[in-house]
């Protein structure tokens, strides 16, 4: 049998291919978008069916806190984007600092979210609580969707934060450099998606009255 | 197929024949061509294949022809369907209910039945409602089917044009005894129908509690002879202790007036051990207090 040595396939699945990783991340983001998309369909239909109830319920939400969190997320998006610029320029230290700002923003966002949720739960508006069970027609759906959608979003914040922590760790270790920063890019893409979804959640829940 | 017994049958059958006709033509034609090719161009007869990349004219032809054909099929399907959603103004309006696993009907004069009786050649409109899960009201002979959805926004109408008795079936899966959820529709000449319609429900010596139970499909899940169906049997339970699960905790309760009333109004509150929760709906707004009393009196008699 012939040993045709010294040949390797030009396009190999075992090569490091930054473009492929990025494409994979984008495709994953598409599925994430449609995961939330399904919930937006539910939101739209129930809002069409229970127009007034949704408007009334949204008064329960705190616009100030919502706006504050929006700003927090937008700023964190910028710092992630900037950290990519920093690593491209070879400034790992700055990149790490910017990522820490993002991480901090994630924590702030979650803390604010915690206060918002506990206020609702305190009012008995969580599914299964007494007030929730006796809400007028349609309002229960609003609060269910509020908890379900912001909860799923918060879960994404946590995943994104973990991802960013990994990026910080690897940048420190010198594993992410000006030549090789795919992970930073992908974590950034994921973080922007979290922001993107919040951009829609915010007006749909807080600003409809 | 069954004989069509409503005005819709013609439209439905016509579109069925048209689609089936075109389909069978293509199925037989393509299969024949395929078999012919396999024989004619067999390796032995045709050792050297000819490479033909494709043919744009052919591609256009076999895009355009199916397009026209499917639009024709759509058209006939639509025309056969259109009258089903155009209800004449003078239709007799009847409420139809589905519940696990029984159909029931309420006539304009308050008459309650568990099978349908309709006049010949008169439009009848049914408002479809469900007391628990999805059901589907299906009369094959009328070529008619609409789902019974809780919340009750769906309806159907028909005009029977052939005397006789036809099956009503449930076509949407609705749980354990789905295939036994049957009823019938009897088509009577107008005079006979009117006579039937005016006649007060026959007074029987049946226990009023039993009548209530029959009307509300209690007996599809609870037997009177001690056998276990979906829920506990009624036989000999009155005055006895049973183990129930209340909010996940087991406890003993005496089956008395209060317990039975609670079980009818809030079936989920104390579920007898070994039975499923969630299958029974609340009858709080369905039964009157007097009816509940009748039921309790009847259960007492089942020793």
């Amino acid at each position: 049998m012939e040993h045709s040595s010294g040949f390797s396939l030009p396009n190999s699945g075992h090569n490091r291919d930054a473009e492929a990783s990025k494409m994979g991340m984008w495709l994953f983001l598409f599925t994430e978008l449609l995961l939330f998309g399904g919930l937006f369909v539910v939101y739209m239909v129930y809002r069409l069916l229970n127009h007034e109830a949704f408007l009334l319920s949204s008064f329960e939400l705190n616009v100030t806190m919502g706006t504050f969190n929006t700003v927090v997320l937008l700023v964190s998006s910028m710092t992630v984007a900037m950290s990519i610029t920093a690593i491209q320029k070879g400034n790992a230290a700055l990149s790490i600092r910017l990522l820490f700002v993002t991480l901090g923003a994630a924590v702030v966002f979650m803390v604010v979210k915690y206060f918002e949720w506990s206020a609702k739960i305190h009012h008995g508006l969580f599914p299964g609580q007494l007030v929730f069970d006796n809400l007028p027609k349609g309002e229960g759906l609003f609060f269910f969707l509020y908890f379900f959608m912001t909860g799923l979003h918060a879960l994404h914040i946590i995943i994104g934060a973990v991802l960013i922590a990994v990026v910080i760790y690897r940048t420190r270790k010198g594993l992410i450099t000006a030549e090789k920063y795919t992970l930073t890019e992908n974590a950034g893409l994921y973080w922007h998606l979290v922001d993107l979804i919040w951009i829609y959640l915010f007006p749909l829940f807080y600003l409809i009255h | 197929m069954r004989i069509g017994a409503s005005t819709f049958a013609e439209g439905v059958d016509l579109s069925l024949y048209i689609i089936a006709g075109i389909s069978i033509f293509f199925l037989v034609g393509i299969t024949a061509v395929m078999i012919y090719f396999v024989i004619r161009y067999n390796k032995k007869r045709n050792p050297k294949a000819t490479n033909i990349e494709g043919n744009n004219t052919l591609e256009v032809i076999w895009t355009v022809i199916p397009t026209i054909l499917v639009l024709v099929m759509f058209y006939y399907g639509w025309m056969g369907y259109k009258p089903m959603r155009t209800v004449p103004g003078n239709a007799i309006e009847i409420n139809a209910y589905g519940q696990m696993w029984k159909f029931s009907f309420e006539y304009p004069n308050g008459k309650l039945t568990d099978s349908l009786v309709v006049p010949l050649n008169r439009p009848v409109k049914l408002y479809l409602n469900s007391r628990d899960v999805l059901h589907s009201f299906y009369i094959p002979a009328f070529r008619l089917k609409e789902d019974m959805v809780p919340g009750g926004k769906n309806y159907l109408w028909f005009e029977a044009n052939l005397k006789g008795k036809y099956d009503i079936l449930c076509a949407e899966y609705c749980g354990q005894l789905h295939s036994y959820m049957l009823s019938s529709v009897t088509v009577l000449p107008v005079e006979e129908y009117e006579a039937w319609f005016e006649k007060a429900p026959t007074i029987t010596d049946e226990h009023p509690g039993l009548t209530v139970m029959k009307q509300n499909a209690c007996l599809t899940c609870h037997s009177q002879d001690g056998s276990k169906i979906i829920g506990p049997s009624f036989k000999g339970i009155y005055g006895h202790e049973v183990t129930v699960v209340t909010d996940g905790i087991e406890r003993q309760v005496m089956v008395d007036d209060e317990y039975i009333t609670r079980s009818i109004k809030q079936p989920g509150s104390d579920v007898v051990q070994g039975y499923m929760n969630g299958l029974m709906v609340s009858y709080e707004n369905v039964l009157t207090d007097q009816q509940i009393k009748d039921v309790i009196e009847y259960i007492k008699t089942l020793k």
Binding site: P10, N15, W26, F30, V63, D195, Y200 | K153
Partner: protein
């Protein structure tokens, strides 16, 4: 043996233009302005009702596009990604339209 010309071996990292800090900062300013706009419309324009919902969603979409275009580097990436994102958007919007056709006509 016939070997294939390896004219484009596009493995590894393709060249990415470096986006300036300044551009990121102006993007953020634009996003913040848009946020202020939506909140203002919602708080002060409550008599506009449906109109305000429509504008809120419109502004949200503008913000989303800004995020995707600048922060997510669509501006500098292959056009493929922009197209794919648009297709996904169209798909999702058609789900919304089809279901609303159904529920609005009940």
């Amino acid at each position: 043996m016939n070997t294939i010309k390896q004219n484009h071996n596009d493995q590894g990292h393709e060249e990415h233009p470096i986006v300036s800090y300044r551009e990121h900062l102006s993007t953020l300013v634009a996003l913040l302005l848009l946020t202020v706009m939506t909140v203002a419309i919602s708080v002060f324009g409550s008599n506009l009702r449906t109109l305000s919902v429509a504008t809120a969603l419109l502004i949200a979409s503008v913000k989303a596009l800004v995020v995707a275009y600048y922060f997510m580097h669509l501006k500098y990436d292959k056009k493929l990604y922009t197209w794919l994102l648009l297709i996904v958007g169209v798909l999702f919007v058609s789900f919304l339209i089809l279901t609303s056709i159904e529920f609005l006509n009940r």
